[in-house]
């Protein structure tokens, strides 16, 4: 339990049932500041549901979620975003009709100060007024954020910068995933949840994504990662959690989990290399 004191995110007995199916079954998890934990497991193991519970898009039937020692169980996703929790989605939920730049600017929404005055009741009306009048403080903030967006996009090399004004629907699948991550970074998150960031990417693109995640980790960002590509998981993770049918069946350093008989039984089946498994999982 002393571990819980220092952890950034901690889950206790987190449970979510859909009808007769228990999608997430009494999961405990502690994530320390700066740590990267990967969650692996077969499709349908409950990984994405777990993310939904942590980010407030779904509410648990039992158990608690705490973030930096504060109970955040059942808070709205808006509140949690303001607390500094950012996530990406498995299927790449970009805003299709918004430009790449605007998509990433939405990521910075919770940080808007000049245009989102924190005044109760009349706050929204002030926001409307400021959006229409646009005093210099508002213009300056917007300008600063636009520069920041360019800096974030530059982390993806030449993948996104040339497309900064293109609508997101026109992007390739891999680029949409990148936009999602850029949007998450614009939030300046304290906790980042990545749901299969390399799904649908070829080996070169996967390697790029892997080095980006490694960079983010080196910068001290706390990351929870869902990933099927085991090689990436083994390289990046401080610890790996294996889920199957909603339950945590193993936890520990990558190498240890890899040889755990339960894991081999439930997830890897007979092949240990993971390559064939990757193909079918992707």
């Amino acid at each position: 339990m002393e571990k819980q004191l220092h952890s950034m995110l901690s889950l206790r007995g987190l449970t979510r049932r859909f009808g007769g199916l228990t999608a997430v079954d009494a999961i405990d998890l502690d994530l320390a500041k700066g740590e990267l934990i990967s969650i692996i497991g077969p499709n349908g193991a409950g990984k994405t549901t777990l993310f939904n519970l942590v980010t407030g898009l779904d509410r648990p039937d039992a158990g608690t979620v705490s973030f930096e020692g504060q109970d955040i169980t059942g808070l709205s996703p808006e509140r949690l975003a303001a607390e500094g929790i950012a996530r990406t989605f498995q299927l790449g939920r970009v805003f299709g009709n918004l430009s790449v730049k605007d998509n990433v600017l939405i990521g910075a929404h919770t940080r808007l100060r000049a245009v989102k005055p924190a005044v109760p009741v009349i706050g929204p009306l002030l926001e409307l007024g400021l959006a229409l009048l646009r005093p210099s403080s508002v213009r300056a903030e917007e300008e600063r954020l636009r520069e920041e967006v360019k800096a974030i996009l530059a982390r993806f090399g030449e993948r996104l910068l040339p497309r900064i004004d293109q609508p997101a629907y026109s992007l390739s699948y891999a680029n949409r995933r990148r936009v999602e991550i850029a949007r998450a970074l614009a939030l300046k998150p304290r906790l980042l949840l990545l749901d299969e960031p390399t799904a649908g990417m070829n080996p070169t693109e996967t390697a790029e994504m892997q080095s980006l995640v490694a960079e983010l980790k080196a910068e001290g960002l706390t990351i929870l990662l869902i990933e099927h590509k085991l090689e990436m998981v083994m390289r990046l993770s401080d610890r790996v959690i294996v889920m199957d049918e909603g339950k945590k069946i193993a936890e520990g350093p990558g190498e240890q989990v890899r040889t755990d008989p339960n894991v081999i039984e439930a997830y890897l089946g007979h092949g240990l290399s993971g390559t064939t498994e990757q193909e079918s999982a992707a």
Binding site: S76, R93, F95, G96, N97, L98, T110, V115, P124, L128
Partner: protein
């Protein structure tokens, strides 16, 4: 004196009729996740086919029922084949708009063929009442109950034991999986639309016989009642739709018993709003589930909006501004004044429906709120007209947003239903709240437009005034769209789940969109009130909401310039071609259908 027993019987009979409509809606929703706004029109068509059969062909009752069912089913098949199937792979908003368009086209065709005057539809049954317990029951009651129960049984047998019925159930559980297993989804859709239409048509005929009267206003009422029953029972849930219908019938019947007939619809819509707010998945939904992840930007058609250079817009504005200086006829100015007023409404709707993705079908209610507020302020409190119009705008912004707020947690089709119902509630409140709104008599003698003490009587001054107000509103809206708010609105429209995950509160931003849009619509209504000098609860009706929606689609969803171009086109072109008024709604409906099918991004493109 009617007894409670009679009210109960009456409620159950009406509930049975609603069930025939609601079951069809539930079947269609189950298979295609679509709320068919044309269901009420099929019901209307059924009633009129029944009238033709009984009055012209003198068919006996069993044959009448068969003729109506067959003809209505045919209409349903045509709708499915030509209205909806071509849209199968298009954006989610397309079939929604298509059924709205189809509904208007069908209603107008019936109205043009049979005239809008009510007709009598005799029941062909002996007019006797049987004493039963504390009340009476007639042969028609028994017939309706019989048809209701028989259809339910037939439907049950079909769904449970026939191969096609299995396919329908499979497709409604998981359409893609069913397709992969070799289920012909087109055939399933055909079957479902055919059955739904047959049930709806027979229902319309029975209601016509029950009240011995049919008229073209039945359509919208039936759609609304059927949808209320279906939503109460849980969308797509067939047994739920039956129970929801009986419940709705009873609530209405008891409501009428206690408060009087003019409140019948108010109860139905209040029930809808209460259910939508408290249990949006219906009374019988067991599990709460996170909605499935949508693919990117599937609600509206993606497009690159046409960029019109500022100087071109300035030149166009200047040309329209100097127009009255040239010898143009009063008629042209009058037409353009109408276009500017519609333009303000379209600006409002294009923000709410286009930029924010909340397809409002009750937008005329915002006009009505603005008009009544401005009229009453200037008449009873002697507020100067200019200020009264601003007051109308503010009232429309505040009250409109408050009324619509229960729908903020809803999506897609449900927003349209809720706004349609809220629009009806506003109109019913105006009709019934006589001490303030003067009820059915309406408000007459509204003072003409004045500004800073000058009367705006001449057509040119009214023209300049309305043009100036519209241009100011358009400029403000354009500025709003380029701010962080425009970005936030569009993000919520494209994916509200992802938007929430990035801290955008749906309540906050939907409120802001409706406040801004409500103001523009309210100002438009206020100006109209002072121009017309007389308004009543029917001045601002659903037809205007649909006209505004067509304008918005024509110009391009969310497109400010498009809203104005669309208004000029849809008000101006019928005048240029001198199209008689009764054909206009029909043409708006057809334009809407063609746009959805062939140019969903509108003339200038979605923003």
């Amino acid at each position: 004196m009617s007894s409670w027993f009679d009210y109960t019987i009456n409620g159950l009979i009406i509930g049975n009729v609603y069930a025939l409509v609601a079951v069809g809606l539930a079947l269609i929703f189950g298979v295609s996740r679509l709320i068919n706004f044309a269901q009420g029109s099929i019901y209307l068509v059924g009633a009129y086919i029944g009238w033709v059969a009984v009055m012209q062909l003198h068919t006996p009752l069993p044959l009448t029922i068969i003729v109506v069912a067959a003809a209505a089913a045919l209409v349903g098949l045509v709708i499915e084949r030509f209205g909806l199937r071509p849209l199968q792979n298009s954006v989610r908003i397309a079939p929604l708009l298509a059924t709205i368009g189809i509904s208007f086209v069908l209603d107008q065709l019936v109205m043009l063929t049979f005239s809008p005057n009510p007709r009598a539809l005799p029941s062909q049954l002996p007019d006797v009442r049987f004493q039963l317990g504390g009340g009476t029951i007639g042969p028609l009651d028994l017939l309706i109950a019989g048809v209701g129960i028989t259809s339910a049984l037939l439907l049950f047998v079909f769904l449970r034991y026939s191969k096609l019925g299995w396919a329908v159930r499979a497709a409604s559980q998981d359409r893609d999986a069913a397709m992969q297993m070799g289920v012909d989804v087109n055939r399933v859709n055909q079957a479902v639309f055919g059955i739904a239409a047959a049930l709806g048509g027979v229902s319309g005929m029975l209601v016509g016989m029950y009240y011995n009267q049919i008229d073209t206003a039945m359509s919208l009422q039936a759609t609304l009642k059927g949808v209320v029953a279906e939503v109460v029972g849980g969308a797509g849930n067939v047994p739920g739709a039956v129970i929801g219908s009986l419940l709705l019938g009873l609530v209405e019947s008891y409501g009428v018993a206690v408060f009087g007939t003019s409140y019948r619809n108010l109860f139905a819509f209040l029930l809808l709003v209460v259910v939508l707010v408290l249990r949006p998945n219906g009374l019988f939904a067991s599990t709460r589930q996170a909605p499935p992840e949508p693919l990117t930007g599937t609600f509206i058609a993606p497009s690159r909006p046409l960029r019109i250079p500022r100087w071109a817009l300035a030149v166009a504005a200047a040309i329209f501004a100097v127009l009255p200086l040239f010898p143009v006829s009063f008629y042209v100015l009058q037409t353009l004044i109408n276009a500017w007023l519609l333009g303000m409404l379209a600006l409002s709707l294009t923000l709410v429906a286009g930029t924010m993705g909340q397809v409002s079908l009750g937008h005329a209610a915002l006009l009505a709120i603005g008009a009544y507020t401005s009229a009453l302020l200037s008449l009873t409190l002697n507020v100067p007209v200019g200020l009264a119009i601003v007051g109308g705008g503010l009232m429309s912004a505040a009250l409109g947003t408050l009324l619509i707020s229960p729908s903020f947690r809803l999506r897609g089709h449900y927003v349209s239903i809720a706004t349609l119902a809220i629009g009806e509630i506003v109109s019913l409140v105006i009709l019934n709240w006589e001490s303030v709104t003067r009820g059915p008599i309406g408000i007459s003698g509204i003072p003409p437009l004045t500004l800073f003490g000058y009367d705006l009587i001449s057509p040119s001054s009214v023209y300049w005034f309305s043009l100036a107000v519209m241009v100011v509103l358009a400029l403000l809206q354009g500025r709003l769209l380029t701010s962080h708010l425009g970005r936030s609105f569009r993000a919520i429209r494209d994916d509200d789940i992802a938007a929430r995950a990035y801290g955008l509160s749906l309540n906050r931003y939907k409120s802001l969109a409706f406040i801004f849009g409500g103001f523009a619509a309210g100002v438009s209504g206020g100006i109209a009130a002072h121009l017309y000098s007389y308004i009543n609860h029917e001045t601002f009706n659903t037809q205007q909401s649909i006209l505004a929606l067509t304008v918005v689609i024509l110009g391009g969803l969310g497109n400010v310039v498009g809203a104005i171009v669309g208004s000029v086109a849809l008000v101006g072109l019928p005048e240029v071609f001198r199209i008689a008024a009764e054909y206009r709604i029909l043409i708006y409906g057809i334009v809407l259908l063609l746009l959805v099918r062939f140019r969903p991004q509108g003339l200038l493109g979605t923003i």
